[in-house]
């Protein structure tokens, strides 16, 4: 897929992020990408491809089912939106992807490079093994020497190519004065090849060419599994980023033009349409509207904004168009400053050393010391340099961490594959291990345990006529509370009535005339109704009698209550933190059965809360979606955010939840614990194998046959043990 980066307009990320510029300059061919989250079968592939190629401007379309996306070669004038509409018409969900953000993920050249080295090592190992079988079954003298020389001729170039990653890593570590897993590997390979060549030259009995090759083969297999698990997570995570095409509307000399957010400058006038996020920090210079700040503060209730009021990046404009004068753009915005804070908090977490690293730290010096002792011991006892060196090489080969190198990647690949099928994306390599240690789970409220979509609670207390009137008025607005009324009315099949002069007063509500009397739906203050509680509510003025108050509550996400029960069964402490006001938080907490909760938390309070729990020795899992959670997400031991979360929150978290349902979180904790258990088991298997094999090697009994057998057995055992994770659940 590197072709995207080399030909077509995709070679220039600037062209992609600046669609306005692309329209001015005619380009030969446009590369477009759509994300297709619901596609799953052969029929889907054909339907999508056929519906796209039926469009006159489409030259070619190819669905990639693994990545759930379609790449399209289209004529210059064709927009991604019209193609997405075509696919939607064919019955599939489709979203435009930002190719500029995507192209980095497409070059998974590293993974292919390892696969190529793996193939060469496998080929050479098989052939040398064939020759070795002849030697083991009794070839002698000239025949044996010839087989050894042929083996050497295959091994040397094959190793020179396929073992390069180990040589490079070991050299880098040694230059920095450190020891890593690759140092004993490199030493074993080099020593095995050198002593084998020497032995072959003196027409000796034993040569370890096959052992060196199988060692490299198994270790490369581990590296490949590792890179595959990570590239799947990385590409999906960046696809989430690519879904947000960064565009803004700039007003210049009375004309509105669509430009890339990165092209905005301080003092520019920016139009924020209803339903859009503010692309910059700014001051409102025109318009009145209601603004949803839930992503930043956790408040579920929209806030009024009019001329002179500030608006921050990431806030969603709800009812009327607003014009902002930019006061901070790009990296100066509040959103970016939060992201910078997150980077600082994250550096603390990267100090976590994985189980594999801890094992390697013990292992690498141990192996070297053992091998050196074997060499010295035999040299003192027998005085024969050749025998001693042979035994030292045998010790290094037989202890070499085939099983150790495979143990962790095989388990994490199996575990993250299983979680991916359940809708969880593991972004960080050590996230599973950290998740297994969690004993406290902290939830954000709005958008995390609730959907952020309110539902009318007293809808059925209204009379038929009042319902019809509210329905008709609500259809004139895209405000979330109005949409909740529309949903409730459509669920009930409420009769429709006709209104005249329906208008929306941005920031207040909608008004119209019904049977020659004015009717209104909107803010209680606007209508003149008295509200005693501070819950979500709106008022309906029917033109006769007192206004009617409609109350709303946020719905919990599907699976939220089950998740709390499941987590408590696993012995976890669950806590609800929210920036919202006391009453709705208490209501949600009671509904979900969470005794611990705290309301009106500022972002800094949340971080402090998580920090305090950590200082008390608890391992915290933070689940949140808003900007106000990013600090806490980064401060927690491990963190999860839903896919609908803001980019900054997703970037700060280790795991992304792809679906609406929260229940997979309980599975994730269980799978993580299982995976850690398997990794430990694998280390135990490797240790047991070493306890058996090392004395043999030190005693000088490890022939190449025993080394090959022992190495393959331990590698296969840990791989099979890792695959047991897949089967369950």
């Amino acid at each position: 897929m590197t072709a995207t980066a080399t030909n077509g307009p995709a070679s220039c990320p600037g062209c992609l992020s600046a669609p306005a510029a692309r329209a001015e300059v005619p380009l030969p061919d446009a590369q477009l990408a759509l994300s297709l989250p619901t596609i799953h079968c052969q029929a889907c592939i054909s339907k999508v491809e056929n519906s796209l190629t039926a469009h006159a401007g489409v030259r070619a379309a190819r669905v990639n089912l693994t990545r759930k996306r379609v790449m399209i070669d289209a004529a210059p004038g064709v927009t991604a939106q019209e193609l997405a509409d075509l696919v939607m018409a064919a019955g599939f969900e489709a979203h435009e992807l930002d190719l500029g953000a995507l192209s980095q993920t497409q070059t998974d050249a590293a993974s292919r490079d390892i696969l190529m080295r793996l193939a060469v090592a496998g080929f050479a190992a098989m052939n040398v093994m064939l020759l070795s079988v002849a030697v083991w079954s009794g070839a002698t003298d000239a025949t044996r020497d010839m087989f050894h020389w042929i083996s050497a001729a295959i091994t040397l170039p094959a190793l020179a190519f396929s073992a390069q990653p180990f040589f490079r890593n070991a050299w880098a570590a040694l230059r920095a004065g450190r020891l890593n897993m690759d140092v004993p590997i490199t030493l074993a390979i080099v020593l095995a090849v050198v002593t084998s060549l020497w032995e072959t030259g003196l027409s000796g009995k034993h040569a370890y060419f096959d052992a060196a090759l199988t060692l490299v083969f198994f270790l490369l297999a581990g590296r490949w599994l590792d890179s595959r698990a990570r590239s799947a997570a990385r590409s999906a995570a960046e696809e989430l980023t690519a879904l947000e095409v960064p565009r803004a509307f700039r007003i210049q000399n009375g004309e509105t033009s669509e430009i890339a957010v990165s092209a905005l400058r301080l003092g520019d006038h920016v139009l924020v349409r209803p339903g859009a996020r503010a692309p910059v920090d700014g001051v409102v210079i025109d318009g009145t509207s209601e603004v949803d700040r839930s992503a930043l503060t956790g408040e579920a209730m929209p806030v009024m904004r009019t001329v002179g009021d500030p608006m921050s990046t990431g806030e969603v404009n709800l009812t009327g168009p607003l014009t902002l004068e930019a006061t901070a753009v790009g990296t100066d915005t509040s959103l970016h400053q939060l992201a910078a804070l997150v980077a600082v908090a994250e550096s603390g977490r990267s100090r976590y050393t994985s189980l594999a690293d801890r094992a390697a730290k013990l292992y690498a010096p141990g192996v070297h010391i053992l091998s050196a002792l074997a060499f010295l011991g035999w040299l003192l006892w027998s005085g024969d340099m050749r025998v001693s060196l042979n035994i030292a090489a045998a010790v290094l080969i037989i202890t070499c961490p085939c099983a150790l190198g495979l143990a962790v990647p095989a388990v994490t690949t199996a575990a993250s594959g299983r979680l991916f099928r359940k809708g969880l994306l593991i972004k960080n390599a050590t996230a599973l291990e950290r998740l297994a240690e969690v004993d406290t789970v902290v939830f954000d409220k709005t958008g995390t345990v609730t959907l952020g979509m309110p539902r009318a609670t007293n809808w059925h207390d209204l009379t038929q006529d009042q319902q019809s009137l509210a329905y008709a008025l609500a259809r004139g607005s895209s405000h979330p509370l109005a949409q909740a009324i529309v949903t409730a009315a459509q669920d009930d099949d409420t009769a429709e009535i006709a209104l005249s002069n329906l208008t929306e007063q941005p920031g207040f509500g909608t008004q119209a005339h019904y049977a020659d009397r004015p009717v209104r739906l909107g803010r209680p203050e606007w209508i003149g109704a008295l509200v005693e509680t501070d819950g979500l509510c709106t008022a309906l003025d029917t033109g006769e009698g007192a206004p009617i108050i409609l109350r709303f509550e946020d719905r919990p996400r599907p699976g939220a209550a089950d998740l709390m029960a499941a987590l408590k069964r696993q012995g976890m402490r669950v806590i609800l933190l929210s920036g919202d006001r006391q009453a709705p938080v208490a209501q949600t907490a009671a509904h979900l059965g969470m005794p611990d909760f705290a309301a009106e938390m500022l972002p800094a309070d949340k971080v402090a809360f998580v920090q305090r729990l950590t200082d008390e020795g608890q391992r915290v899992l933070m689940i949140g979606d808003g900007l106000n959670d990013t600090g806490a997400l980064a401060a927690a031991h491990v963190s999860i955010s839903p896919a609908q979360a803001l980019d900054a929150a997703r970037a700060a978290s280790d795991i992304v939840l792809l679906g609406q349902d929260l229940m997979p979180v309980a599975d994730a904790v269980a799978t993580a614990r299982l995976a850690t258990k398997r990794i430990r088991e694998n280390f135990q298997i490797a240790t047991v194998y070493n306890i058996v094999a090392v004395p043999l090697a030190v005693a000088g009994l490890a022939t190449p046959l025993i080394a090959a057998l022992a190495m393959s057995t331990s590698s296969l055992t840990v791989s099979v043990n890792a695959l047991r994770i897949r089967g369950r659940g």
């Binding site: 897929m1 072709a3 995207t4 590369q31 079968c41 052969q42 592939i45 054909s46 070619a60 190819r62 669905v63 990639n64 089912l65 693994t66 990545r67 790449m71 292919r112 696969l115 190529m116 193939a119 060469v120 080929f123 098989m126 052939n127 064939l130 020759l131 025949t143 042929i150 295959i154």
Partner: protein
């Protein structure tokens, strides 16, 4: 033992052909969409090679 003079080069050449074949499939990006490829086989529409995307 003369047979070895044929068999060893032959086994190496055959193995090498397999390796070359694998490297060819790898370079022509045939492992980009394993799930889609396993399902495309069921399609009646003829589809000769993966599009370079």
């Amino acid at each position: 033992m003369n047979v070895l003079a044929y068999l060893i080069p032959i086994s190496l050449i055959l193995g090498g052909l397999g390796l070359a074949g694998f490297l060819y499939t790898l370079r022509s990006r045939q492992y980009e969409d394993p799930e889609g490829d396993s399902r495309r086989i069921l399609s009646d529409e003829w589809d000769d090679k993966p599009k370079s995307d």
